[in-house]
């Protein structure tokens, strides 16, 4: 009886305490963000300054492109570094072409093609250290305009001005996460920005490219279309066609007479028999994820990255049979940590696996690839493998590895990101 009374007394006391004390407690949720105010420059002035007589630190490396002895390295939203890579063990940052809003690059011959927000620029780099603007083609990439809907922050595109910088002011407020309404509403406008451009003959880019040159055409993708741009006259690129290319397109990778287009929901294969108007030949759907792709004659290698804006898919590598491009089929899945860019040279497959580092696989048998080397300590995003030299763009900077002996891959050089 005494125990029973004790329990009753205890429970009653607790109930009263709970009732009275609960109202005294508060949960605190703070949101820290930065208010950013754009700094404008007249478009005339910006275009006049597009020349390679500057030097700038590598702060936010984006896409990479190799051509001849040079590496072209995109500084996200700011321009292109030109790096003399005559000696991969000692690359030298030579100059910088300031291009506000630049995220994609590709090179053919002596011409660099780069985006500047909505515009496409062609730049003469016959002397890479004395680049000259050839042509500006306006409104090729309308999705890159600021606040097309006018719903976010009220910034309305003014075609006579270019945003060249931002004034940042950090602030913290109390508040709850508000991430869903905007995210879903604007999902179709998502513009993915990390990585590099790809080319067939004249240069080589990475797997995260949104620009690619095949023969006389520059192909570029936005969220829903594949654009073919005739570049026989570099001083006068012409947008020829906008071809519906699926949804949430992210990357484009050329192989022989095919374009492999990676989207967040699948892989699209285009045939280039008519290069002015590529025809979609086959598709392969997968769970929503970030999805770069590389391919060879028989196989396509697709990495699916979960998280952030990518989607809920598993982190994995898919190997597809693309011998029949009309009907790509899944052959095998390999579990990964958080993969993004990838490259294949012969039987060696490189995968940038997020915090898992750079992974090097023996892909002699696509159905049984085996890990040969894992390079930790960097967070790689994309890789170009060319002539036993792997260029890796990572959060920490640009790295070059010698893989002439797959059993003894070693770091040749690095250009570290400035803090």
């Amino acid at each position: 009886m005494k125990k029973f009374l004790t329990i009753v007394f205890g429970c009653t006391t607790m109930a009263f305490l709970l009732f009275f004390l609960q109202g005294c407690l508060k949960d605190k949720v703070t949101r820290t963000y930065t208010i950013m105010t754009p700094v404008y420059e007249s478009k005339t002035t910006v275009l006049a300054n597009i020349k390679s007589d500057l030097q700038a630190e590598v702060k936010s490396p984006g896409k990479i492109f190799i051509y001849g002895n040079y590496i072209f390295l995109n500084e996200v939203n700011e321009g292109v570094h030109i790096i003399d890579n005559s000696n991969p063990s000692n690359p030298v940052v030579k100059s910088f072409i300031p291009i506000p809003g630049n995220v994609d690059i590709a090179v053919k011959g002596n011409t660099l093609y780069a985006d500047m927000y909505t515009d496409l620029l062609s730049i003469d780099i016959s002397d890479p250290l004395n680049a000259k603007l050839l042509k500006t083609v306006a409104d090729v990439f309308p999705e890159r305009a600021y606040d097309v809907t006018g719903m976010y922050g009220g910034i309305v595109p003014d075609k006579s001005k270019i945003i060249v910088d931002w004034i940042k002011k950090d602030t913290t407020v109390e508040g709850e996460p508000n991430i869903y309404s905007g995210g879903i509403m604007f999902d179709s406008q998502k513009d993915f920005a990390l990585a590099s451009a790809a080319v067939a003959a004249p240069g080589i880019g990475g797997s995260l490219a949104r620009f690619s040159i095949v023969n006389d055409y520059l192909y570029a993708v936005d969220h829903h279309t594949l654009k073919s741009i005739l570049i026989t006259d570099p001083s006068n690129p012409k947008l020829i066609s906008n071809i519906p290319g699926g949804f949430d397109i992210e990357t484009i990778y050329p192989f022989k007479d095919k374009l492999f287009v990676g989207s967040m929901t699948g892989l699209y294969i285009f045939d280039l028999t008519n290069p002015a108007s590529p025809a979609m030949k086959g598709t392969f759907s997968h769970a929503r994820a970030c999805d770069p792709v590389v391919a060879d004659d028989n196989y396509a290698y697709v990495t699916l990255k979960e998280g952030t804006s990518c989607g809920p898919a598993e982190d994995e590598l898919l190997v597809l049979n693309v011998a029949n491009v009309s009907a790509p089929t899944l052959l095998k899945k390999y579990s990964m940590q958080n993969p993004s860019g990838l490259a294949k040279d012969g039987s060696t497959l490189f995968i940038c696996d997020g915090t898992g580092g750079l992974k090097v696989f023996d892909a002699t048998d696509a159905l049984n690839i085996s890990l040969k080397k894992q390079i930790k300590g960097i967070e790689p995003r994309d890789v170009i493998a060319w002539k036993n030299n792997a260029l890796v763009i990572a959060k920490e900077g640009l790295f070059q590895f010698d893989y002439s002996n797959p059993n003894n891959i070693y770091l040749r050089s690095r250009i570290t990101v400035s803090k």
Binding site: T6, Q22, Y33, G153, P177, D187, G307, S309, E379
Partner: protein
């Protein structure tokens, strides 16, 4: 004219990898503390008992009332006991607290009031990511309160307690995943949650 928009936070703030590294010293610290205390008990001549306390209960705060469960394993010496606890905390977001638990009985008899204090780290499960989230990490966990225990038989005791409980965690979220034209935008949310904890269970 310049029109401010709400956007970016931090450029390359901590990754999950870094968070895991940051958590490890805290776990080691808790283990070292409990081993130190256990070692101190072991050196004494008094009788040391191993103990287990398993409890279920509620966490009530401004946001809601949710369930919790905990189990503490440790040692007991006279009226003092210490152990390492792990649990499930479902308040606001489900977290897993790992903590050092120390409690002191008021009396040496079998039925006695007691006070307790917990301190440790609250882990946020990896699969609790929100849409557009870059990463998340757990944070400080602590609790303190009073309780009462009484025997049900020779080995088993019933334990009730009430107290204050705090946990913290944070999330880094891509606030504009559809944009690349401006430097990428992140919001950092910090959650500091204060609750009343009520638990009941058994002690062996």
């Amino acid at each position: 004219m310049t029109i401010p928009i709400q956007t970016t936070f931090t450029s390359e703030a901590g990754s999950l990898y870094q968070n895991r590294i940051a958590m490890k010293p805290k776990i080691y610290l808790v283990l070292v503390l409990i081993l130190t205390i256990a070692s101190g008990f072991a050196q004494s001549k008094a009788k040391i008992k191993f103990s287990n306390i398993t409890q279920f209960g509620t966490l009530s705060g401004k946001s809601s009332t949710e369930y919790q469960m905990q189990t503490v394993n440790g040692v007991k010496y006279k009226t003092i006991s210490a152990g390492v606890g792990v649990g499930l905390d479902n308040y606001y977001e489900q977290t897993i607290p790992l903590f050092l638990d120390i409690r002191k009985n008021f009396y040496g008899r079998s039925s006695t009031p007691f006070v307790y204090g917990d301190a440790g780290y609250s882990f946020l499960p990896k699969d609790s990511k929100l849409m557009w989230e870059i990463d998340h990490k757990g944070g400080t966990y602590y609790a303190a309160g009073i309780g009462y225990e009484f025997p049900l038989d020779k080995k088993v005791k019933a334990v009730f307690d009430i107290g204050y409980s705090y946990k913290h965690f944070s999330r880094k979220i891509d606030s504009e995943p559809w944009r690349s034209s401006i430097p990428h935008n992140y919001d950092r949310y910090n959650y500091s949650l204060n609750r009343i904890s009520i638990k009941a269970g058994l002690s062996f």
